[in-house]
């Protein structure tokens, strides 16, 4: 059963711009696989991107990211917006497979044509996202989605790549995950524009909320116009719908942060950072591809590894030598 022949990149992008979800899905697979020609596709997609609101949702596994996003999708849909969701889950370091289980929480939107959801395995990429996540967001933008929500895999203290993709970052925490010292640490705590204290109906939530609200006042004042971290308590999952709490507050906080970004023009800096990150990633990938292509079939890679193992040289000297030779050509 061969996969259907693809149209030309130009035809594909035209259909993408018309909102064709099958073409979007196929293009995402191509960039995810790093397939031949995907850079040419992205060249055509790129000019049609940069206008959507991109919201990142991060936090540890089981904190309620997907359940919160399920509600956010509903709220944005009520505003008449088209919503894209990219949900990343970890890939197995052993088999390379993955169990992508975020979609199960988005069931309320399983038939809504105005919602495009894509699950991604991290495929060994560190930082809480997959290598292609940024490209996938761009494809969803070009497809015509007004809001794109990016869900990281269950992130620890230092998986912060989401800041390079999302304009507004929400960090989801739950009660019982540590005191205010944990909350003062560098890394993921610092990248949050909003902190969501989910499962706020659990014991200890009030103390936790007070601790989180306190850290807002510990940071250096960067002027009157700066964004002040907001803490939003929520209950994303409850046996009765009326016990769901804080979703409107969360939407309001996201909108307030977006308004701040645009009013203060801080959005320009955010967009520039995103491009800088993309540029670095593409440079790194392409350089690596070119150099490994040059070594392929020459047996040199194996020789280098052997020489390093035997102590005759080291990785630093090898890279210097190979890069030096490459730059001369």
């Amino acid at each position: 059963m061969p996969k259907k022949r693809l149209d030309s990149p130009r035809e594909m992008v035209q259909r993408l711009l018309a909102g064709d979800r099958r073409i979007a899905a196929r293009m995402i697979t191509l960039v995810e696989d790093g397939a031949e020609g995907c850079n040419d596709l992205m060249k055509l997609v790129y000019p049609h991107t940069g206008k959507a609101v991109v919201v990142g949702v991060t936090g540890s596994g089981g904190s309620g990211k997907s359940s919160l996003i399920n509600h956010l999708i509903g709220k944005f849909r009520n505003q008449g917006k088209r919503v894209g969701v990219v949900a990343v889950d970890p890939s197995s370091p052993f088999s390379g497979g993955a169990l992508l289980g975020d979609r199960i929480r988005f069931q309320a939107h399983s038939l809504d044509e105005g919602v495009y959801i894509r699950s991604m395995g991290s495929r060994g990429y560190l930082g809480g996202l997959a290598r292609a996540t940024s490209d996938v967001v761009r494809i969803m933008e070009a497809m015509g989605n007004d809001v794109i929500i990016v869900e990281t895999l269950g992130a620890g203290q230092d998986e912060i790549d989401i800041i390079h993709v999302a304009q507004t970052c929400a960090l989801v925490l739950t009660p019982g995950m540590g005191d205010d010292i944990q909350a003062m640490k560098a890394g993921i705590m610092e990248i949050a524009d909003l902190i969501v204290l989910n499962k706020a109906d659990l014991e200890g939530a009030n103390l936790c909320l007070r601790n989180l609200e306190a850290i807002v006042h510990y940071s250096l004042d960067k002027g009157e116009s700066r964004w002040v971290l907001r803490v939003v308590p929520t209950v994303a999952s409850a046996s009765k719908n009326e016990n769901i709490q804080g979703i409107d507050d969360l939407v309001e906080a996201i909108e307030a942060h977006q308004a701040y970004l645009h009013d203060s023009r801080a959005i320009d800096e955010v967009q520039a950072k995103r491009v800088e990150q993309e540029l670095g990633l593409v440079f790194k990938d392409e350089l690596q591809k070119v150099i490994f292509k040059g070594l392929k079939g020459t047996g040199k890679k194996r020789q280098y590894i052997k020489a390093i193992l035997e102590g005759r040289t080291d990785p630093y000297s090898v890279v210097e030598q190979v890069l030096g030779a490459f730059l001369k050509t």
Binding site: A25, S91, S110
Partner: protein, 134 residues
């Protein structure tokens, strides 16, 4: 870079609350290196098809332990046809009378596995029949 992974939707459908079999299959496909999108219980044929389209899935796997296999299998197969998902495999698993296997195959299931199937035949079937990416 340049890696192709087999993407599988694993789902229950209808009012069927027995998801252990589907979870076991989802886990073993993950261990076989596939990317499994697990949809869980109470899905509709339309929702499964939309997930398969959005995820660019290569395989749709549906598990039944409720006796609804002759109701939903033709609905899913018809929806696949409506959306031109003719390069996607429909694989059915679960608990049903052996004489229903040819019936489901005629309805559009590409392969049917009953309870008691060993894991390797499922993996082998998918790997050798899945669409080849171009």
């Amino acid at each position: 870079m340049g890696e192709n992974k087999i993407k599988v939707i694993v789902s229950k459908v209808g009012l069927d609350g027995h998801d252990r079999g589907a979870k076991v299959v989802a886990s073993l496909l993950k261990e076989a290196g596939m990317e499994v999108v697990y949809l869980g219980m109470y899905q509709t044929p339309g929702g499964i098809i939309k997930a398969a389209i959005d995820e660019d899935a290569d395989v749709i796997g549906v598990s039944y332990l409720s006796g609804e296999h002759l109701v939903y299998t033709p609905q899913i197969a018809a929806a696949m046809q409506d959306h031109a998902l003719d390069d996607v495999l429909l694989v059915v698993g679960g608990s049903f009378p052996p004489e229903d296997i040819p019936v489901m195959k005629q309805m559009g299931a590409h392969e049917v596995f009953r309870g008691g199937t060993l894991t390797q035949p499922i993996i082998d079937y998918i790997i050798s029949n899945v669409r080849k990416k171009v």
